[in-house]
């Protein structure tokens, strides 16, 4: 007992704290706003009271002492925007060395200094799904971030109560990297199916081996030899056991349908398709068997597998009952996801509520965090954005962004330079003409130098 107390005391002295108490939580009272709750309609002239990072009360005439009060008369409050597919704040994106790399974790490569985090906050985005790239059929494990910009500690950015997720990828990217780049499977969409199927079957064998070993241990006096531990296969076992949500980079209807069938065969229901440009062609299947689709508003024709796609994708999917979100996959697009969602009204005339769900509660569902964020409800985490106009208007400008009740962006207090640190090598600051738009293939472009520079203008 003494020893335990000593250990706990030592850990506390060393800075270890239980229950992620390191992250800051704030309190604030927002008054007289038009509150876009997403799940409970639009509330006019309404107050939102936040206490210690949690939405305590929503109503009229709320008061609180010792709490910052913000008059939001004439302004709109919506839940913090959630991006279900991002590569912001990552030092590395692809471990493109094998068709299956389920053992790697994006949690190990978080870059808390990325200015992209602040730019996302300035666009009202409070949560992003920091993903592995699309080089491998089964890529690494992703990490869901809360944009608590300002801390140099990567751990402070992690949303610790988020579900585990993993990246899968179909089509051109894995076949290009491994088939054409390395001369191994997969070289075609047939091979992609085989790689995934083989992976799951290996995992089943692996699980059995461990079960056999664990059963043998129960026999008194037995000294069985333990099997070799494999992080790669154990992760696949966790997928089969429903502990991890698959987020699969995909474009064409046939490959989406293929993976739906493989998942059904292996009893996997936790799967979200990402990009999924031809999702609209298999919308009934996506609605019946998956956790939905996370799409671009209007990207198409940047590569062959998205040539036969349509900007009406989000609308068709939504009307067919598919849980649909709009993601960025880009440090540029993440800054105006409210505008990307707005395009779903140009292309398919979705209602305001359906449209705002595309960037709030729907991505929250796909990341397994819908009980915590994604709508303005009492008891939920206080991730909030205040806009000067309805967020689906092209003229809307985010004014303030809160994560856990703490204000991380205020347009009136923005000092321009929001870098957390300046590298010594940056005495002459580099000028970039464009963001390298889509980072899904980041780190594996050395395979394709012969295709010319323009290939990487747009890529996912």
């Amino acid at each position: 007992m003494k020893k335990t107390i000593f250990i706990i005391a030592a850990l506390l002295v060393m800075g270890w704290n239980p229950a992620n108490s390191q992250t800051q939580k704030g309190s604030v009272l927002i008054k007289n706003a038009t509150v876009l709750t997403i799940t409970k309609g639009v509330l006019e002239d309404t107050d939102v009271l936040v206490e210690n990072g949690i939405i305590k009360k929503i109503g009229r005439g709320l008061t609180a002492s010792n709490v910052t009060t913000i008059d939001a008369k004439g302004k709109y409050v919506m839940p913090g925007i959630i991006d279900a597919h991002s590569h912001v704040a990552l030092d590395a994106v692809n471990e493109g060395t094998a068709p299956i790399t389920s053992e790697v974790r994006m949690a190990d490569v978080i870059d808390p200094y990325d200015i992209g985090l602040y730019r996302a906050l300035a666009g009202g985005v409070t949560v992003s799904h920091a993903m592995h790239g699309s080089a491998n059929a089964i890529g690494g494990q992703n990490i869901t971030l809360k944009h608590r910009y300002g801390s140099g500690n990567p751990d402070d950015l992690i949303m610790k109560d988020a579900a585990r997720t993993i990246k899968f990828a179909l089509g051109e990217n894995p076949t290009r990297v491994h088939g054409r780049g390395n001369g191994i499977q997969p070289r075609s969409r047939m091979g992609v199916e085989a790689v995934i199927r083989n992976g799951f079957n290996d995992a089943i064998q692996y699980k059995k081996t461990w079960e056999t070993y664990n059963n043998a241990l129960k026999v008194k006096g037995a000294t069985p030899v333990p099997p070799k531990y494999s992080e790669r296969l154990q992760t696949l076992v966790d997928i089969l056991d429903g502990k991890i949500i698959i987020h699969c980079h995909s474009y064409r209807a046939d490959e989406i349908y293929m993976l739906i069938n493989v998942c059904r065969e292996f009893g996997i229901t936790n799967i979200v398709f990402s990009h999924v440009n031809e999702g609209f062609k298999v919308a009934p299947e996506l609605a019946a068997y998956t956790m939905g689709a996370s799409v671009f508003a209007d990207w198409w024709a940047y590569k062959f597998e998205v040539y036969y796609s349509t900007a009406y994708n989000a609308a068709i999917l939504t009307q067919n009952g598919v849980i649909t979100s709009i993601n960025s996959d880009s440090g540029e697009l993440i800054r105006h996801l409210y505008h990307e969602a707005g395009k779903a009204q140009r292309y398919g005339e979705l209602t305001d509520e359906q449209t705002l769900a595309l960037i709030t509660i729907n991505p929250a569902k796909q990341l397994g965090i819908a009980d915590k964020v994604g709508s303005i409800e009492e008891g939920k985490q206080a991730d909030l954005v205040i806009f000067n106009d309805h967020p689906l208007s092209v003229y809307a400008i985010p004014q303030m962004t809160f994560v856990d009740g703490v204000k991380y962006f205020d347009i009136n207090e923005d000092p321009n330079d929001m870098r957390l640190r300046v590298a010594a090598t940056e005495s002459i600051e580099p000028i970039f003409l464009k963001e390298h738009d889509h980072k899904c293939m980041h780190g594996v472009d050395f395979f394709f130098t012969n295709f010319g520079r323009s290939l990487f203008d747009h890529e996912h």
Binding site: F280, K303, R335, Q345
Partner: protein
Amino acid sequence: MEDQNILKMKKINQIIFTVALLVLPLLANAQFDGEFIKPRNGRFLLQNATIVTVTKGNIENGSVLISNGKIEAVGKNIPAGDAEVIDCTGHFIYPGMFDGGSRLGLVEVNSVPETQDYAEIGQVTPNMQALVAVNPNSVAIPVTRVSGVTTTLAVPSGGLFPGTAALINLNGYTADQMYAGFKGVVMNFPSSARRSTRDRRSDEDIKKEAEKAEKTLNEIWERAVTFYQLKKADAALDYYPEMEQLAKVVAGELPLLVEVNAASDITLAIAWIQSKNVKAILTGVAEGWRVADKIAASKIPVITGPMLSIPTRNSDRFDAAYTNPGKMAKAGVKVVIRSNDAENTRNLPFNAGFAAAYGMGKEEALKAVTINAAEVFGVADRMGSIEQGKDATLFVSTGDPFETKTQIRHVFIDGYRVPMSNRHIKLYQEFLQRSPGLVEN
């Protein structure tokens, strides 16, 4: 008896056929299997709309009469005569929008090299004509024009002088039918900026490359001036198409479209343009806001965009790219907006919307995609506003075309009513309620 029956049948068939023919135009908006709706011209009266003329204010409950490709009349109470009447009650009429720089038509699928026709091999290829490589049947053209973007500058890219850009209308089956009356020679001014966040060259390498490019540029220019002088003196000259084209710039027959973005480069480019005394337009100009007064003083117009870009420097305010056109316009620069896109040139109005929201104002942003563009391209006598005698290149919308919620109802290009359909819309029609739907297995 039998013969009579057959005759009767024939007559009934004839009547049915005639009635069908008469009804067909009424069904022009519905599509049948195998039917294709073509663009068509004629006389059209667009009635009861709010007309946003851009140059002469708004006209409430106004009408526009289109005839022979031109706007024959604008105003109230215009009699229809034999014109086809299109009721636009509650709707708005705007002049077609210009995209000041795009690859639309020059590339079909960005990652497939076989479909990339915007860049040639070599540093000095000003004689490469974008107009000849524009594919009038690109799937992206109908996808673009239903947004109200009717006219784009097709811009080649690549080396120092990558080619000659051409203004095109987004309707027509040949380059000549699409050509909208402006060409300009593109020049990539030696750049001290990184091409993208992936450009890993060292500062020193970038500087060296820029210096080398500047030296090359000046040598090429001297050659072009010499060529021009010899030509003027009727000297016997070898076939030299590159210099032939640059000599037109020296002579002032064609303007230079100078692509330049970093602030220090913009300053150098302005000095270069002034020292050579050429007609020029600055393009890109991402850091224009840093030297807006210098640009304004030079009186050189600017084509800038996209607004939907990250700031050029990490230390810049998050909205540096959104506010750039507004800051330049306020300083007195004539600003045109571009998407710099290809397949998503349809996002031009949203770029203008962001510019408007972040300081430019709606009115100025609308000018930046209509009359300013027409003036900079020297076609303002025919395009850029709704005025009598101008080309009938315009669209009808349910509201502000910069708002995503707004629907565009009709588009006319050079008097042709273009079908409000494209592959994106057809896929929507086919798959909204797919048949067969879900089959359980």
